[in-house]
Amino acid sequence: MNNFSTLVGGIAGDGINEAGLTVARLYSRLGYHIYMYYDYPSLIRGGHNFSLVRASRQKIAAHMDRIDVLVALNQETVEKHTGRLKDNSLVIYDADKVKLDDTKHKGFGLSITSILKEATAPAVMKNTCIIGGYCKVVGIDWSVLEDVLKKHMPKMLELNLQVARHGYDQAVELCRIDSSVDENDEKDKKHLPIITGNQAISLGLIKAGLMAYVAYPMTPSSSVLDFMARYAQDFGLKVIHPENEIAVMLMAQGFAYAGIKAAVGTSGGGFCLMTEGLSLAGMAEMPVVVVMAQRTGPSTGLPTYTAQGDLHFVLNAGQGEFPRFIVAPGDAEEAYYWSGVALNLAWKYQVPSFILTDKIVSESQYSFDQDRAGDPADERKEQDQQTPLLWDGRGLYNRYRYTDTGVSPLAFPPQKGQVIKVDSYTHDEGGITSEDPQITRETCDKRQRKGQSLAAYLEAYETVKVFGDEKSKNALLCWGSNKGVCLEAAQKLGLRVIHVLVLSPFPERKLRDALQGVERLLAVECNSTGQLARLAGSYGIKILAQDQILKYDGRPFSVEDLLGELGRAMA
């Protein structure tokens, strides 16, 4: 088995995300790589939720429409997803709630209500019960499920094990999932953790030395705040959830002024409120990291669905001109590594630094290999990697001293006999307000020099990645979460994939290098106007409208979606 997809569906409150995660962990223990897409509407109870768990022998970061097993906790799940079934797909359902008219597909109905009643277990345990049945049907040994439940059931473990076992015993085996582990390969036996992109971002920031996190909750960024708050004590983080995103952005800069490395997180609407403070960070040269997780807009849009609609907003947010770093990781491993880099660069160049994600990268679950992700601190062994440029303590301190790189040495209060002045107005080297035309020009040049220094420093990084058939004359251009789906489609069709990781400073030269020999370039984006294509176009890399494959219905491309689109585009 190379690829196996399971869809678990039910209503919000049924524990669909957790059930999907349990399935993911089962396959992880059998040596498979995992990707899980979680689809849910913006409500607390009711509505239709589903988890699409894909297990593969290869590293993956995309879902497939077609599924091998449908796990249905309610009738709606069957009705909505029957179309995904293949001839040999299986259906496992709650026979007390679901009527299956489908005679084509093999399935098994578990009498979940009766099992729970008999065990005097609460209704919330139905997901555990059906996963018990699932394991038997697909031939995953009880011991594997037992191991997962014992590790991850926070409460009422015994009762959960009991209802899972009843489900397992009642079901019959209809197929057998083989283990993917090569018993001779020690590395292969290592089970990988399964984490979301937001967890990877949190860990990457913490690894790079984050000391404070400030955020106002907004889907799909909220789970960064939840994670930071939950582990604040472990890592000595100061975590604050203040009155609004305006305060968030200003607090981050108060921390920066005092020498505390801080990050903030939000989605489009919250970022609108942050732009005032973002421009302050540009002028006052305050290092700040912004986790900006896109969702479908404009305005409230689709709160729990995805989009790549805010690239130009983030590129241009804030009045005035100032440099910024923007990276859009494509999966959890890139999210971990580049979040660390983003924090380091914010402090090295005293600029705002963005980790631009979307609902897919932020909330999907990925197999995560820390070694493979890499250590942002190991990339370049220079001493200054993790430490910003600090004042040497000699002479009179000037917060905005002019230098060749544009970067002024930092000092934090208290410094005896010195003053540290930062200013939102145009200011002189000492941080005192000035309206002088020469100082206005010089300080603008100083900020731009920082951007140039940052761009030069990034030459050592893989800011544009090439995957697939690197010799192919046909290439897909993508950014962010579309990396995974483009890679799979390209493998099937023999295409080159060019993934632009860093969007600012724009890696024009690296993109041109990646495009060597390309005759047909297709942009793949989750927006309606081709935002990366437009950005590349401003550097003279033209992509025609008919060569832009755009999806803007709030849902990510499935592998089949993209193959279909590519088939039409390249016909």
Partner: protein
């Protein structure tokens, strides 16, 4: 330390007769005093918003964060949380803190974070040349309300009292000794301290005559009493100019501080790698 040592080379651009000079002078004296009393000047951070008031940080050779309109308190809060040893003082205008940044003001009081906010309450927008503010009386004829403002003003000390501020006082820029006393008390107060300063704008809202006639110093009041503070504060509501205006310390209590909630967290940077590995292990 001589207060003159706290001057900078920046050219002062306030109008002659501006009430801000009194606030500047009083604050320089207080900070110089405190420096000699064991509160070193390098441990002081001044934060200002935008407006005439905000220029004060350019005129003081002290650590400063010249912020944006309405946004003194969030920056100040993080500075205090980052380093509780710092004395963090915000200068803000009535438009700054009561219009653009009202949410931050209420939350700072609600949290009782150990910060001092000096409100340069001139009851007019000066830098934008004369519009009504949240403390202008009803009927105020400003450039944006030529027929007279239809709104009643806010009573800032009353708002602070109900929001949770633990030190509330009012001064007047014609009473520099009282300002010094109140500033010092506020800075040394353990919690969120709010000083409403009736600061006269000579160009757009010259209230010297009215304030000279109606202000008086409260004496013998029980500052620990919420009810008494409320009664004094409510005796003038900023709408009328024919009633006595109390000045002085209205309220002072001890209460738990937000910035203390973070003290127990050690940074643990060296242990992070191991903890990250352990955490990842838990996600298998």
């Amino acid at each position: 330390m001589n207060p003159k040592d706290l001057a900078t080379t920046a050219r002062n651009t306030w109008c002659p007769g501006c009430g801000n000079f009194s606030i500047l002078s009083a604050m320089r004296s207080v900070l110089a005093d405190l420096d000699s009393e064991g509160y070193p000047i390098e441990n002081v951070v001044l934060i200002s918003g935008i407006g005439c008031h905000a220029k004060i940080v350019d005129y003081m050779n002290v650590n400063s964060f010249y912020s944006i309109h309405g946004r003194t308190l969030p920056a100040a809060s993080a500075i205090k949380i980052a380093n509780p040893d710092l004395k963090v003082i915000c200068f803000s205008g009535d438009g700054d803190s009561l219009a653009e940044g009202l949410d931050h003001l209420i939350f700072a009081a609600k949290r009782n974070i150990d910060i001092t906010l000096i409100l340069h309450d001139n009851r007019v927008y000066g830098l934008t040349t004369g519009q009504y503010t949240p403390t202008s009386p009803q009927g105020f004829k400003g450039k944006s309300t030529p027929a007279g403002s239809a709104e009643h003003p806010l009573n800032p000390p009353e708002l602070m009292l109900v929001s949770g501020a633990s030190y509330i006082a009012r001064g007047y820029t014609h009473g520099i000794e009282q300002l010094q006393k109140l500033f010092k008390e506020a800075i040394l107060h353990n919690g969120f301290s709010f000083v409403d300063v009736l600061q006269v704008c000579v160009s757009y809202n010259n209230l010297y005559e009215s304030y000279n006639k109606w202000t008086y110093n409260v004496q013998g009041n029980d500052a620990a009493s919420f009810d008494e503070a409320q009664k004094i504060i409510r005796s003038w509501n900023y709408d009328r100019s024919d009633v006595p205006i109390p000045l002085g310390k209205f309220y002072k209590i001890e209460a738990p501080r937000f910035d203390q909630a973070f003290a127990a967290y050690p940074p643990n940077l060296s242990e992070r790698d191991g903890k990250i590995k352990a955490l990842l292990e838990s996600f298998i």
